[in-house]
Every structure is written in C-alpha cells, then in structure tokens.
C-alpha cells in the first residue's frame, strides 16, 4: 500500500533561517509528487509538483523540492524563511497509473517562523 511519511511534525525557525522538510514515500510504481501548504484559516494550496524531468522543481514563494528516486524522497527546501511562511505543509503522492489521481498525504509538518 502507498504511504507517505513526514519526519518533522513541528518545526520552529527564526526568520532568515533555512528550511528543509523531509518527505519519504512508499510505493512500488512510479509516482507524481506534490507539496501542499495550508496557511492559517485558508484552504490547501499547491506549492509545487513533480511529474517528470528535472528532479529539482521550483514552486511559489521561493520554495523548491528535490526528487531523489533512489531514496524515495521529495524534500522541501527554502533558503530563507519569512514570518509569512508560518503554515502547515503536506507532502502527497499519487500513482501515475491511477486514473483518479487519488492523493496519499503525509501527516503534515507545522512550521512556525518567529519574527
């Protein structure tokens, strides 16, 4: 069965610190990979996605993620966080073979950025 594991449940950083959130998935076939963000009081928004090609993908607001196939990982990074990055971050996968795009989510990482 597919599963997604996010190692950091709660991360606290000061502004300008660098961020890396871990995500590993378990699935025997090829997958599409996503990071979603949920700002306080707002809906889930797509931050970035990987379907194929360059394993380093760039998203909105200066975020990037690297797909390492051999490690089944898709870690999210940002060189310098801002207070406005305070939010919950979810890693998700779906199987390329799926005709529904059913997403499997990790349990999320709460990021708190101190001003």
């Amino acid at each position: 069965a597919q599963s997604v594991s996010q190692h950091n449940h709660h991360v606290i950083l000061s502004e300008a610190a660098s961020l890396e959130l871990g995500c590993n998935y378990s699935y025997g076939g090829t997958v599409n990979l996503f990071w979603y963000v949920q700002y306080p009081g707002q809906h889930l928004q797509l931050l970035l996605k990987y379907f194929s090609g360059d394993p380093l993908v760039k998203g909105i607001k200066g975020f990037e993620a690297e797909f390492i196939k051999s490690k089944f990982s898709f870690n999210l990074r940002k060189p310098s966080v801002q207070w406005s990055d305070t939010a919950e971050y979810f890693c998700a996968v779906n199987a390329k073979s799926s005709n529904t795009g059913k997403l499997i989510f990790g349990q999320g990482t709460t990021l708190q950025v101190k001003p």
Binding site: H43, L46, F51, T100, F105, G106
Partner: protein, 114 residues
C-alpha cells in the same frame, strides 16, 4: 474565476444523526474528490465522483456516501454519525482531461459530532 466552494463552513451534530456536506467545483472542472482530515493528520481520501458515478473509494464504511449532480457539484452524506467522524472534510476538484490530474481544494467543512 470561482475556486472550489464548500458549505457549510462549520457544522455541529450529535451521535446517530445524519449530515450532508456540499461542494461546487472550480470552474471548468468535472471531477470531485472528498477527503477527511482529522486533527493533526493529513487528509485521507474518501471517494471520487466523475460523470455522476463513484469511481474510486478509500477505506471508509458505507455510512459515507456521495452524489454528483449534472452541474458537477457534489454532496457527501454521512449516516449514523460517530464521535470519530469529527474532522475537517475537504472537497477537491480536477479536470478529467488533465493528464496530470492536479486537484484544487476548498476551504473545507468542519464537522463536530457531540
């Protein structure tokens, strides 16, 4: 361009009652998926509707049922509510013709079962 809209925003029910949640997909989308997000957890897939039929179902009991209307909007029904059904229910819409199947989420309905 309207995004995904869900109603109501919040709902309080008691055990044993039934509830109906509603979702209107993003303009141009024809597929609706429902997810349950318990406190402190990631969203879990309940089911997906396309062409007014359930296409795939997650690991949820038959108490959870749904419907899709000709205008692509959808309802999620939960019967015989349990305390454990308390959660944020998210609707996501997508376009079946999009090979990348990107899903866009609504703000959710917060259901509290007392």
């Amino acid at each position: 361009d309207a995004g995904v809209t869900q109603s109501p925003t919040h709902l309080i029910k008691t055990r044993g009652q039934q509830v109906t949640l509603r979702c209107s997909p993003k303009s141009g989308h024809d597929t609706v998926s429902w997810y349950q997000q318990a406190l402190g957890q990631g969203p879990q897939f309940i089911f997906q509707y396309y062409e007014e039929e359930e296409r795939q179902r997650g690991n949820f009991p038959d108490r959870f049922s749904g419907h899709q209307f000709p205008n692509y909007s959808s309802e999620l029904n939960v019967n015989a509510l349990l305390l454990g059904d308390s959660a944020l229910y998210l609707c996501a819409s997508s376009f079946m013709g999009d090979p990348k199947n990107i899903q866009y989420f609504g703000a959710g309905t917060r259901l509290s079962v007392l």
